[in-house]
Symmetry: D3
Subunit: 286 residues, 6 copies
C-alpha cells in the first residue's frame, strides 16, 4: 500500500486499546508515584510536542490517546499530522489539560510517536534518494513483534509501500519451497492450485537463470534477491511487463539510488521497520 | 539490574504467551499459505540460526518457543545462549523438526531474537567503550511499547544495568515536579512522605547549583542531565559518596568514554532500547 | 484458497485457545454439575463420534482439543479426518479416556465439529452440482462473527475456494466506492495507487455495460452481481482471459449448475458460511 | 426465559466488546483498503438497513455498535427493534454518519444482525405453528461457539424459551449418568445431594417405563426424548402436574404442531440455534 | 451445591490460567530478583506446605499450578487434599523441584491456598456448630471480585452449599422488585413469565405477613431476612413443605445454632466469602 | 507508599476494566433476570450507599464505575470519598439514574467498595493504636490474587504504607537466600551486584546476632522477624540510623502498640490485606 495521510487513519478503538496496554506496562501497580506525590490533583498544564530533529510524523493518534486516556476533556491540537515533515524546533501538537495526565501520559505518547515517526522518517529518506526513478521502497515482515500493523502504517506515512502484512496475504515462494516442491514450476503450480483467486504469487530468485525459469510461469511478482545494480538492470530488461520486480538485499542509503535506477518497481528494506532509529521529539512545558 | 546470562532467564510461560501473540500477528487467518501449498505436512528439516554479524545474543528462548509452538517435539540446541558473543558465521542454535514448523516459525523467531540481540549488542559496545572506568550504561523508559520487560532483559544480557521498569518503581523528580512542588526541597519532602520505604528517590539536575541544592536533602541518586564531561567531573567531586550519580543526555559511542571517566556511576542511554539496529542473524537450511 | 485435507491443518495453539473459550462459555462457574454428581472422578469410558447423516468432515481438531483439555492422556483416533466424506452410521473418531472428560467435553466438541462439517458438507454439495464445469464455489465475508478463519477453512475442506478473509486482503470496488470516486476508472486508479503490489483488485458490476467499462482498466477480477445465466455467458465471452470472473447473487443448489456452465471461474455464495445447517454427528457410548 | 423486546436489552459494554473483536477479525491489519482508497475521509452518508425477507429482528444493538465504533457521533434510528416483525422492503434502522464508518462497519453490523434475526425468525415460525397449544419452543446448548448468550437472547426475541445456558445452571440427567450412577433413583439422589437448592433437576427418558421410574422421585422436569406424538400424549397424561414436560428429537416445522398438541410444556429444538439460516437484511444507500 | 472433595475438581486449564495471571501480578517485569541474584539456576530443593493452624483445605490445585508453571517436572504430592481437615503441624503437600521455581512460586501458591482454605475452614466451623440440625450454611454473591467460582468451590469444600453463582442462575425477588412490580404476586407472575423452566424462584420476606403473601404463589424458596429464631420457627411452621426456607441476616458463630434449630433448610452467610480470615499455612524448607 | 486521598486516584481506565470483568462474573449469560422481569426498562431510581458500621472508605471509584457502566448518564455524588472516615448511618454516595442500572450494578459496586474499605478500615484501626509512636503499619505481598494494586491502594487510604508490590521492586533476602548464597554477606553482595541502582535491599533476620551480621553490610532495611518487643527495642538501639527497621510476625491489635513503641519504623502485617473483614456498607433506596 502506498497511501498517505489524507487517506489513512488507524481505527481509533485499536489505538486506544494499544495505548491502554502500553500504559499498564509503564504505570506498574502504584502508578506515577512521583507525579502523585508532587503535583496537585487538579492542576492544569499546557505542553507542546516539539521536533528536535527533522523528519516525518507518524502516530499522532497514539499521543492523543495517551493523554486523553487520563483526561478525557484534554485539548489536543495537531499542528503537524501524520505524513507531514517537521524541522527541528517545529511544534507537532499542543496539549492542554490536567497536569498529572500530561506528565503521566508523556512517555507512552512519545514512545509510540517517536518510534513510528522514526520509521516514517527513514522511509522518507529512502524515498528522497530515489526520487524520480519510479521505484518505491517497501517494507517486509521484519517488524517489531506486536507492532506490525502500526509500523507498516508508518511506512505508508513515510511514502513507502507495504508488502505482505501476514503469511496469509500472498504467496512468496523461496528457495526452500522450491526445493521441497521439486522445482520452480512445480512450486508455482502447487501455489496456484492452493491459493484463492485474490492471492498474488511472488517468486524469489537469486540469479538470471532462475528468473528465466520463473518467468515461464504465470506469476505476479519476482523478488530479485541480492543482485547488484547491473544484474538487476538485466533482470528488468527480461521481466518488465511480465511481473512486478522487487529488489531486495544489500540496500542502504548509499546503494538504493543505483538499485532504483535499474528499473525495478520496488525495493524492499527490512531496516525500515527493524532498525529505524526513533525520531527525536520532546515535550516542552509552558 | 546488572545480571548476566548465568542468573537470568525469562519466565517460560510469558515467553510462550508473547510468541503466540506474535504468531497470530504473522499468520493472519489463513496461515502460511506458501508453506502449506509447497511443503508436505510430514516433511522434516534441520536449520541453523547463524550470526551474519558480530554481536551479543539475547532472546534465544523466543526462537525456541516459536518453533516448538508448532512442533512440540522439535529439538532445539543452543550453541550461543543469551549473553554470549558471536562472530559472523558462528551458529547460535540448531533446530530439527517438522519442516513446516521451521518455515512458519522462522520470522517470529528471528524478529524477537534479532531485535533483542540488537539491544544486547549495542549495550555491549557501549560497555566495551567504558571498560575499566567503573561506570555502567543503563537503560531508560524509552522502550518499544509492549516489549519493555524483554528489552530491559536484553540490556542486562549486554552487560548494562536497568533503571526503573515502571513509574511505580522509584521516584524520579524532574523540573516539572520541582516547579509544581515549589522547589527541590519541597518536592523531595513530598516524595519522601508519599513513597514507601523500599522506594529510592532520584532528582534530575541540570546545573551544579541545582546539584548543590539537591544534595542538601537525603536522596539516593542524582540524574545529571546534559552536562559536559568537565561539569560532570565537578559534580562527581561534590556528590560522590552522598548519592549515586547518573549522567544522561548527549551520549553516543564517541562521547561515552569521556563521560564515564568523569567518575559517574551510571550513564543512561535511551538509544539502547529505542534505536538499536537489529543484530543480523539468519536461518540456514541444511 | 482451494486446499484440501492433505495440505491444511489449523495451528494447534489457536484451536486449543478457541476451545478453552468455548468451554468457559459452556461450563459456567460451577462446571458440569450433573456429571460431577453422578460420575466417579476416576471412571473411564470409550465413545465414538458417529455420522448420523452423510456429509464432509471439518473441524476434527476441535473435538480432539475439547476432550484432551480435560484429559491430556485421552486417546483420540480419527477414522474420518477433515475433508473426508462420511455416510450415516460411519464413525468419525474414537475417544478413550476419563469418563467425566468425555461427558463434559462432548457438547463443545460437537458444536464445533457439526458446525464446521455443516459448512464443508454444503460446500461439497455445491461442488458436486458443478462437477466438470471448471468452476469453483467460494465463500464471502458473510461469516459468523469470531469464527471466520475456521469457517473459511471448512469451506476449503468442502472443496470450495476462499475469497478475502479481511478487508485488508484485497480491493473489492462496489457501487458506493465507484459513486464516491466519480466513476469506475477513477476508483480503480485510486485503488491501484493506494494498494500495495501484492494486492489484487476486483470490481463489482451489475450490467454488461459496466463490465465493458471495468475491462478498460487493469483489474484482476470482476464480480458479476445478480446476472442470469445468459447474461453471465455474455460476460464470460467478453472478459475471459482479461480477468477472473466471479458470479454472485441468486445462487442456490438449483441454479448453481447453470451459472457454472456460463463459464465463470468462481461462484461466491454467502450461504456457505452464514446459513449452512450443521452436519448431524453424535457421540455413541460403548 | 421467555422475555420479549420490552424487557430485554443486552448489556451495552458486552455488545461493544463483541463488536470490537468482530471488527478486528474483519479489518485485518491494513483496514478497509478499498474504502480508504476511494472514499474521502470526511464524506458523510445515509443508509438504511432494509428487510429483504419477512422475519423477526434480533441484534439491532450490534449494528448500532458497529457503526458507532467508527463514528461516535453517527445517528442510528431503529424503526424495527428487537422482537419486531418485518416484511420485505421494510426499514429496520436508518444510519447517518461518516461515509467510511458506514461502509467499513457494514459487514460486521449485518453479520450479527442477520445471524441473530435468523434465529429469532426461525423461532417465531415455530411459535406460530404451535399457536394456541400452550406449548413453547425452547433452545438447547447446541449453539455456535462464542455466541451462546447472544443466540439464546435471539431465541427469546423470537418468542421462544431458554433452556440451560451452561452446565452449571441445572441438572440434566441423561442415560450415561443413569448408567454410571446405577439407576435413575440413584442418579437423582446423587444430583439432589450435590446440587444447590436453587438448581432444578431434569431427567431424560426415552420410554414410558423410564418415565414411570423417574416420576417416583422428586424432579422438576422430564425430557421426553424421541417419542412420537401418541406416546407423548400418554406421557403427558401420566406426568402432568408432577413435572414440566419437554419433548425433544425429530422436531421440525411439519411435526411440531402434533407434538405441541400432545400437551407437553416445552419443545426443545437444537436447530433454532445451530441451523437457522440468516434473515436476509441489506444496507441501502441513499 | 454441596459436593465434596471426592466429587469436585476445578478444571485444570482454568486453574493454570488464573495462576498465570496471579504470577504476572507478583513477578512484575524483572521477575524475582532476589532469587535470581542468590539462588543458582539449577539448584533443587524440597519444601513442605505445613498447617500452622487447624482448618480445612481448599485450593491445592493452585499451589501445584504455581510451582509447576515454573518447573513442569516438579513433584507435587498432596497429603491433605481439598476438603480435608488439618491440624497445626500437619503437612498439606510436599514439593520437590527447581529451587528457584519453589521460591518464586511460593507466594502465589500460598495466597490462593490460604485464602480458599480460610473460606473452607470458616464454612466448616459453621457446619460444625449446626451439626445434627439438618440445616446447611450457604454462600451469597458477596464474593471477592474475580474469584467467585473459586470461593464458592471453597465453600463446598468446607461442607457448605452454594446459592446463585450469577444473576442469571435464579430469580431472587427483593423489596425493590416487589415495589416496582406492584406487589409480591405481580412480581412472581412477571418472573414466572420471564424465566425459563429450569429457573427457580425465591422471594425475600422480612415478616410473617409477607411470608403468608408469598406462600399464596408457586415459589421454590423463601429468603427469611433478619428474623430472630422465634420468628423463624413460626415461619418454618407455616411454610415447611411449600418452599425451601433460607434464613439470612445477623448470622454469626454464636447465633447460627439457634437459627438452625428453627428448622430452616439453609442459612446464608455473606461473611463466608467476604470476611473469612485466611488459614495460616506456610512453606517449610528442608 | 503512604499517600492519602488527596494525592491518590486509581487510573480510571483500569477501574472500568476491572469492573467490567467483575460484572461479567456476576451477570452470567442471561443477565439480571429478576430485574429484567420486574423493573421497567426506563424506570429511574435514587439510592444512597450508607455506612452500617464505622470505618474508612476506599474504592469509591469502583462503585461509580459499576453503575455508570450500565447508565452512562447516571449521577454519582460522593459524600465520603476514599480515605474518609464514616460513622454508622452516614451516607457515602448518592446515585440517581436508571433503576435497572442501579439494581444490577449494586452487588459489584458493593463487593469492591466493602472489600477495599474493609482493608482501609483495618489499616486505620492499627494506625490509631500506634498513634504518636512514629511507626507506620505496612502491607505485604499476602494479597488476594488479582487485586494487589487495589488492595495496596486501600492500605494507603487507611493511612498505612506499602511494601513491595512485586518481586521486581526490591530485594528482600530471606533465610533460604542466605543459606543458598552461603551467608548474609555473600547474599547481599550478590544482590547488590545483580540489582539496579534504584533497587533497595532488605534483609530478614530473626535474632540480634543475625542483625549484627547484616549491619556489617550496606543495606537499606532490615526485617526483624518474630521478635518480642524487648528484643525489638534492642535491635532498634543497634540499628537505628543504619537501616530502616521493619517488625513482622505476631502482630495484632493487642500487640501492635508495644511493637511500635520499640522504636521500629514499620510494622508489616499480612492480615491487612489477607484477612480484613469487609466494611458493612449497604444501598438504601428512596
Amino acid at each position: 500500500m502506498s497511501g498517505g495521510p489524507e487517506t489513512d487513519r488507524l481505527p481509533q478503538f485499536q489505538v486506544y486499546r494499544a495505548v491502554a496496554a502500553a500504559l499498564d506496562e509503564d504505570l506498574g501497580q502504584a502508578g506515577d508515584i512521583t507525579t502523585q506525590a508532587t503535583i496537585d490533583a487538579d492542576a492544569t498544564a499546557t505542553a507542546v510536542i516539539m521536533a528536535r530533529q527533522a523528519g516525518r510524523i507518524a502516530g499522532i493518534q497514539f499521543a492523543e490517546a495517551a493523554f486523553k486516556t487520563f483526561d478525557h476533556g484534554a485539548r489536543f491540537e495537531e499542528t503537524a499530522g501524520d505524513g507531514m515533515l517537521v524541522e527541528p524546533g517545529e511544534p507537532v501538537a499542543r496539549i492542554e489539560g490536567n497536569a498529572r495526565a500530561l506528565l503521566t501520559g508523556e512517555r507512552v505518547a512519545l514512545n509510540y510517536l517517536c518510534h513510528l515517526s522514526g520509521i516514517a522518517s527513514l522511509t522518507h529518506r529512502y524515498m528522497e534518494k530515489i526520487a524520480g526513478t519510479g521505484a518505491q521502497v517497501c517494507c517486509t515482515r521484519k517488524t517489531t513483534p506486536h507492532l506490525r500493523a502500526f509500523e507498516k502504517y508508518a511506512v505508508r506515512m513515510g511514502g513507502g509501500a507495504n508488502h505482505r502484512f501476514t503469511l496469509s496475504d500472498a504467496i512468496l515462494i523461496k528457495d526452500n519451497h522450491i526445493a521441497a516442491a521439486g522445482g520452480i514450476g512445480e512450486a508455482i503450480a502447487r501455489a496456484r492450485a492452493y491459493a484463492g483467486h485474490m492471492i498474488k504469487i511472488e517468486v524469489e530468485v537469486d540469479s538470471l537463470d532462475q528468473l528465466d525459469q520463473a518467468l515461464k510461469h504465470e506469476i505476479d511478482a519476482v523478488l530479485l534477491d541480492n543482485m547488484d545494480a547491473a544484474t538487476l538492470a538485466k533482470a528488468v530488461k527480461r521481466a518488465k511487463g511480465h511481473a512486478i520486480l522487487e529488489a531486495s538485499g544489500g540496500v542502504n542509503l548509499e546503494t538504493v539510488r543505483a538499485i532504483a535506477e535499474s528499473g525495478v518497481d520496488l525495493i524492499s528494506i527490512g531496516a525500515l521497520t527493524h532498525s529505524a532509529p526513533t525520531l527525536d521529539l520532546g515535550l516542552d512545558w509552558s
